[in-house]
Amino acid sequence: MAETTFQPDSLAVERRKHGTTTFARVARYTLARVITLFLTTVVGVYLTILIANMGGYVDQIQRATIREDVNQIVRTDVSFKALSQVERDSRINEMIRLREERVGLDQPFMVRSVRFLTNAMTLNLGWAQNMASDSGSRQVRNIMLERLPPTLFLFATSNILLFFFSVLIALSLSRRYGNFWDRVLVGLAPTGSAPGWFYGIFLILIFAAVFRVLPYGGMVAAPPPPNPFDYFLSLLQHLALPVLAITLSTIFLNAYNWRTFFLIYSSEDYVEMAKAKGLSQRMLERRYILRPTLPTIISTFALTLITLWTGAPILEGVFNWPGLGQTLLRAIGQYETSVIVGSTVIFAYMLAITVFMLDFIYAIVDPRVKVGGGIKHK
């Protein structure tokens, strides 16, 4: 740590001299991360399929799709009407058998699982039995992709707020170490053990049930306001409580951890040196404290984000937020296996993208990151 940050100014000079190095470094690193993360995701999805298929559920999804198709054909084919019941049944069964053979359901599982893997990676998961998307499609992919934007919107908003507020609180409290608010924060840090939905219940109780100032749940008022400005206002109203719940569940613990980092780093010799030079507090914080701690902060934030993603289904369920998590909840309720497997795959994608984005930011803020070096976790 010490040798790289000891002379930040000389580093900056060097970077300015070779304007492309940062870009090339980040690009190389990004490419390497994309490839490894993609492979990681493939392995992750493959594991998901293995788990799902231990009870034969992926097979069942395929069989059900085939049976549905065959029934469709039989219903429209006139020649079947002339046959007796027994003959017709045997013909149907024969057709199903042939089709199953064609898609390879008679092959050993190891061979099949590779095909499932490609299907799952492209979210080609067939049709749902009981669920349908709002636009009426029964394709699993449509059901899920339709619900992706609300989830992304909710989590992006709350995570950005969470990150900046945590850094702000942590920085300002590390400056006022030991004062009243600092001790309040230390006292509040253990509240981070409760998940967002838990705070959500209390928030609904206080703001929706008792004071009646904010809605119980949903994404916009019903019916949605026609005018875009009103629509946006209604969206903000509905967004307030879930964002607050996510923020409350992690902000104190985050701020506490980061404040501790800042405190450790602000006692480094080079900070003392900079103070002695008479640099302003702002400069000191930005260049000498925030800069070297940022990589560590980002890697801890990655873990926070992953926990938050995990809690998404319940949070959306509690707030009735029409996102992916709620779809997953409905799928559990209706025993819609294809949607359950599909949601798991989408969540795996989300996690991989989150990890990738943080890696990318990490590479930009940490000049030491090189290809092959990987992330140095503190």
Binding site: G44, A194, P313, Y335, A352
Partner: protein, 445 residues
């Protein structure tokens, strides 16, 4: 020994740790008390029992102690049986039994009860006994309630009797029977009421027993839910479930993670590489959806979920921390010395590497407990809780899905939530302090 004393001495300086430990000890005693008082099969019988177990309880009643904070007292529920003390059997001229049952009760509450019900059990061969019921109010009015013949097992629900409603001037009987006719505001008359049953039998050995239940708006110390179940069963039983799930999952995860990290560092090479790759894959595996998949496809039993949780969390972020520490420890001279005297790999890992990390491990384990306690509740909220066990999470799920927040049944959610919070906070506070004591690097800040 000295170390332990030193730790204990250190411990006393942190009030939050003492508070946390006291809460944990209290929860453990509750857990032990519960498992002795309500054994597992009994708890399941109670929780899964329907009308036959809980018929004496009102629906969605608040806890009794809520009345302490209320100016207008809500009626408490009670059930009165007929026995020797309130049942008088005489014989009439034809030699048949005439049974008189009186239920005196004190009603000193400020609102009306939820419902009044009489449960009859009658013994007869062919001719049904005939019941006349009257209510004596404190202001000495006598209200005729109903006259009817009872079957072998019959329930008479006061508010469903439309004739009684008409006789009370169109008021619902649960209100009309108690209403003070002289007051402008709808207030019940307070004081001693008496419900009188006069039963005529028409056979020699015919007998009738009746139970009078007044369903109030408060019942039990924890209230009741939509199925009339006493919530105290679930609140009590949630304690051992939450504690054991949290403890076992945290212990299983941290110990296994530690061993894997130690093995990775000690053997290095491809073992280390493999373990690091597994950790990376595990990072993108969506934990909760996979648990959901396991719960829906295979089994919702708490043991299956516990096992899956441990397996999925073993390769978590903690492995990176432990690895870093082990890498440092590996270079220590005493490890070299152990190798020099010919210690085997297993011995070095188990006896030399692992003990060094225990100070780091204990606080981490304690801080992990709340997240698993909440995980168990989260799964219950998803509808994937253990199918038979009553737990806190299940109470919260029932409450949310039955609209407790919309209808104002706050006690239903707040009690289990409070217990969850208490458990989580207690372990988190203790873990934070242990972290400071065992890892003095952070002590200054």
């Amino acid at each position: 020994m000295n170390n332990i004393l030193k730790t204990l001495h250190e411990f006393r300086k942190y009030p939050s740790a003492i508070v946390g430990s006291v809460i944990i000890l209290a929860l453990i005693s509750i857990a032990i008390y519960t498992t002795i008082k309500i054994p597992y099969p009994e708890a399941i019988r109670l929780w899964r029992g329907g009308q036959d177990v809980w018929y004496q309880n009102p629906v969605n009643a608040e806890p009794i102690w809520f009345n302490i904070f209320r100016k207008e007292k809500l009626p408490e529920s009670f059930a009165l049986q007929s026995d020797e003390s309130n049942k008088i059997v005489t014989q009439n001229t034809e030699g048949f039994n005439v049974i008189e049952i009186t239920y005196p009760f004190d009603y000193s509450f400020d609102s009306f009860p939820q419902e009044l019900t009489l449960f009859f059990k009658a013994d007869y061969d062919e001719k049904q006994p005939y019941v006349s019921a009257t209510l004596l109010t404190p202001d000495e009015r006598e209200i005729r309630i109903a006259d009817f013949a009872v079957a072998a097992s019959q329930t008479y629900i006061f508010s469903q009797d439309s004739r009684l409603e008409r006789r009370l001037g169109g008021l619902v009987p649960r209100e009309g029977l108690f209403l003070n006719p002289d007051s402008d505001s709808p207030k019940p008359v307070q004081g001693q009421y008496t419900l009188k049953l006069k039963i005529l039998t028409f056979e020699k050995d015919s007998d009738v027993n009746a139970e009078f239940v007044l369903y109030g708006n408060v019942a039990g110390w924890a209230g009741t839910d939509h199925m009339r179940r006493d919530l105290s069963v679930a609140l009590l039983w949630g304690t051992p479930v939450a504690l054991s799930f949290g403890l076992l999952a945290a212990l299983g995860t941290t110990v296994t993670t530690m061993i894997i990290a130690a093995v990775a560092v000690w053997y290095g090479g491809w073992v280390d590489n493999l373990i690091q790759r597994i950790t990376e894959v595990n990072l993108v595996l969506p934990f909760l959806p996979i648990l959901i998949m396991i719960g829906t496809f295979y089994s919702r039993s708490i043991l299956t979920i516990l096992g899956a949780t441990i397996i999925l969390s073993v390769f978590g972020g903690a492995i990176i921390t432990y690895r870093a520490v082990f890498l440092q420890v590996k270079e220590s001279p005493y490890i070299e010395a152990a190798q020099a005297y010919g210690a085997k790999n297993g011995r070095i890992v188990l006896l030399y590497l692992i003990p060094r990390i225990i100070p780091l491990l204990i606080p981490q384990m304690v801080t992990l407990i709340p997240s698993y306690v909440f995980l168990e509740a989260s799964l219950a909220v998803l509808g994937l809780g253990d199918p038979v066990l009553p737990t806190w999470g299940k109470v919260i799920t029932d409450a949310i899905s039955k609209g407790a927040l919309y209808q104002g049944h706050y006690y239903w959610i707040l009690q289990p939530a409070f217990l969850l919070m208490l458990t989580g906070l207690a372990f988190a506070m203790l873990g934070f302090v242990l972290d400071r004591i065992f890892n003095p690097r952070l002590r200054g800040v």
